[in-house]
């Protein structure tokens, strides 16, 4: 696997990591509130209680899944920001979807071509023109 050919703006990686980290924190706070709602729902009544518990279980699980994913992206981006300033093509492809949409073209070939333009795009973006 070659480590030559791609470069990345480390500030963008760190900024993306911070965004995922903040998301994980905010979702953890939301989960705390959701848990307290779930606990209180046990008193809703014999029929409503179990239905509410199932409803809360679904959205607690979904929230937990998003917390794990966000924390994972945060860790991965931080590690990469610490370890690399050059990337292989696979790592570049992994990284691009993790940064903000507006920043994804910051992960570029050393000659300045965006990662995804190597295959089917007609040419590099002109500055200021969004495709």
């Amino acid at each position: 696997m070659t480590l030559q050919g791609f470069s990345v703006n480390l500030a963008i990686l760190r900024s993306a990591a911070a965004k995922w980290g903040e998301l994980a924190e905010d979702l953890t706070a939301a989960r705390t509130r959701l848990r307290s709602a779930e606990e209180a729902s046990a008193d809703l009544g014999e029929k409503a209680g179990p239905a509410a518990q199932k409803y809360f279980a679904t959205w607690l699980k979904e929230t937990t899944s998003q917390i794990r994913a966000s924390s994972g992206h945060d860790r991965q981006l931080r590690r990469m920001a610490n370890e690399y300033w050059r990337l292989d093509e696979d790592a570049a492809r992994d990284l691009a979807p993790m940064v903000a949409w507006a920043d994804r073209n910051a992960i570029v070939l050393k000659n300045g071509l965006p990662v995804d333009s190597t295959t089917d795009a007609p040419g590099p973006d002109r500055p200021g023109v969004q495709r």
Partner: protein, 572 residues
């Protein structure tokens, strides 16, 4: 053989604590909606026309969509949980009445059985009649209990069927597709807002429960502060927002500590929390009518209502002055609570609101206390707030009083000469009634303008063309306000002790058991006729007072004295 009926066992009623289900869900939905909105900013734009696979693989775009689905599902469930809790509140009142009847019938059955046993199982005519009447009451009670259980069961069924529509992620997506657009609702909210609180109130009443919940969770800052929205919706929104912020600050503190701004936010929130816990001697919680801890560059906005201003016969709004921000909001709240507690004695229906909806001069902008900039801005928001109270009040219009202390009195007076229309206005420790207000009638109080001014409160001596004053002294005879008596804590003088006593006079109007507080309470409940009136200040009173105080100063040279007098009374 005569038999005595015993009522069936009482059904159990879900406890009032189930409301925590909705407050927790609302705070979670609010947080989810906020982070979904945040992620959306980092997402692929909707109008993206490139390769779909690139957009589909973009994690922030996918995450924003999933969070949006979760927020929609939580908002959907919340609307029905809230409806269920409202239904249960009604069922709970009925349950309490039934439980009381049940106890009566059980004890009557025990007594009748004992009397029947003494009569060897055969009652006399009068005992037979008593037993027949009792048995009828038991049958009626059992029937009412069955009706109650049927109503509870129907409410439960309705909630279950709705929650089951949103208890999988796939169903959440469908709900999201069908949900009203939050941005379109927000546009409608802003359009109503442009037409004032009465229009906001009409618009809010036209919304479905799920539309209201969506707005409350997606735009808590907007809805929690919008005048004309019913108090319970504002309270729920603001309280959930407070809980969400608290939870986020706790998480932030765990991960690397708080920034200076976050620390300030935390202190502001604590001030409000202490305000909500002010002891009122009852189990009833106050309403959080306004909550924006980041407003005014971190000074914050807040309002807490003690008692319900939508139903109270007497409503007061308390406006504080300089050096009040959200960190110390509990002291503003304590003053409002005192007025509500004292006003309510004797069974009167009173609501009292602590309102900090403007930027009082504090800290670095303390210099603004010598001009009317903040008072003018505050007057506008106060006018809108009072109009909101009037728009949401139910039944006969409330007797409304607005009380301003110190710089707050200038703000209140400016509001009065603007569009605010209330019954009574109370100005205490006033540095002036604001430029352009030469007479009490300029403040348009339907009943009266009242003034409390301690003779040794140096702030109240600033009015009437002093360079530091803010317009005319409302305690002056030419102003035409009704002046009530206040106690002096001590004599003002140019010494550390004298300055402190002057300050005590300025801050002592709401002191517990003071005659000034008694007068303010009487005015607040429409009994100003029983408040003793004292003479107003006469011409040159303030000028003479400052001259005397400066001349009595042992630390001043004659040159400094003449400069000080000229500095304070540059217009005279």
């Amino acid at each position: 053989m005569t038999t005595v009926s015993t009522p069936h066992a009482m059904p159990t009623c879900p406890p009032a604590s189930i409301r925590r289900t909705t407050t927790g869900t609302r705070a979670a939905a609010m947080a989810m909606s906020r982070v979904a909105g945040l992620m959306l900013k980092y997402s692929a734009p909707a109008q993206w026309e490139g390769r779909e696979s690139e957009k589909a693989n973009h994690l922030m775009t996918r995450t924003a969509r999933r969070l949006d689905v979760a927020a929609d599902a939580l908002q959907f469930g919340l609307a029905y949980l809230d409806e269920y809790c409202d239904t249960l509140a009604g069922l709970r009142s009925r349950h309490e009445k039934l439980a009381s009847d049940h106890r009566t019938r059980v004890s009557a059955a025990t007594e009748l059985r004992a009397r029947l046993a003494e009569a060897d199982g055969e009652g006399t005519g009068s005992l037979e009649r008593e037993i027949a009447s009792h048995n009828e009451a038991v049958a009626s009670l059992d029937s009412k209990c069955r009706d109650w259980m049927r109503d509870l069961s129907e409410a439960e069924d309705a909630l279950v069927s709705q929650l089951q529509r949103a208890d999988t992620v796939a169903e959440g997506r469908t709900i999201g597709d069908e949900a009203p657009s939050p941005t379109a609702l927000r546009e409608r909210a802003l359009a109503a807002h442009a037409h004032g609180p009465a229009a906001v109130h009409r618009w809010w009443k036209s919304l479905d429960r799920d539309e209201r919940e969506l707005l409350k969770t997606a735009y808590p800052g907007l809805i929690g502060a919008m005048n004309g929205i019913p108090i319970i919706d504002r309270h729920e929104t603001n309280l959930s927002n407070l809980q969400r912020m608290n939870a986020e600050l706790r998480e932030a503190a765990k991960h690397g500590g708080l920034t200076a701004d976050e620390e300030r936010l935390r202190k502001n929130i604590r001030g409000v929390e202490r305000g909500l816990r002010v002891d009122t001697g009852t189990d009833v919680s106050p309403f959080l009518m306004l909550f924006d801890p980041a407003a005014e560059g971190g000074d914050g906005h807040a309002a807490i209502a003690f008692g319900n201003p939508e139903t109270a016969e007497h409503v007061t709004v308390n406006v504080p002055g300089v050096n009040n921000d959200m960190r110390g909001f509990d002291s503003v709240a304590a003053t409002a609570a005192q007025i509500q507690i004292k006003g309510s004695s004797g069974g009167r229906s009173v609501a009292s609101i602590a309102w900090l909806g403007y930027d009082t001069p504090t800290g670095s902008d303390l210099g603004n206390m010598t001009n009317e900039t903040e008072a003018r801005k505050g007057a506008k928001t106060l006018t809108d707030f009072v109009a909101g109270l009037q728009a949401t009040h139910r039944g006969h219009p409330a007797h409304m009083t607005v009380i301003g202390h110190s710089y707050g009195s200038t703000t209140v007076a400016k509001a009065g000469s603007g569009g605010m229309r209330v019954d009574d206005i109370v100005l205490v420790g006033s540095p002036g009634a604001g430029s352009g207000n030469t007479h009490a009638s300029d403040l348009h109080a339907r009943h009266q303008v009242h003034v409390g001014s301690s003779d040794d409160d140096f702030v109240s001596r600033l009015g009437n063309r002093g360079s530091l004053g803010l317009g005319n002294d409302p305690a002056h005879m030419d102003f035409g306000a009704r002046r009530f008596a206040v106690e002096n804590s001590g004599d003002f003088s140019w010494s550390p002790v004298g300055l402190k006593e002057g300050l005590d006079n300025h801050t002592g109007y709401f002191k517990k058991d003071s005659s000034s507080l008694e007068s303010i309470v009487k005015i607040s409940v429409g009994e100003s006729g029983s408040v003793a009136q004292v003479p107003s200040r006469e011409n040159y009173t303030n000028y003479g007072w400052w001259t005397r105080e400066i001349l009595e100063s042992t630390t001043n040279t004659p040159g400094m004295i003449s400069k000080q007098i000229a500095g304070i009374f540059d217009g005279r």
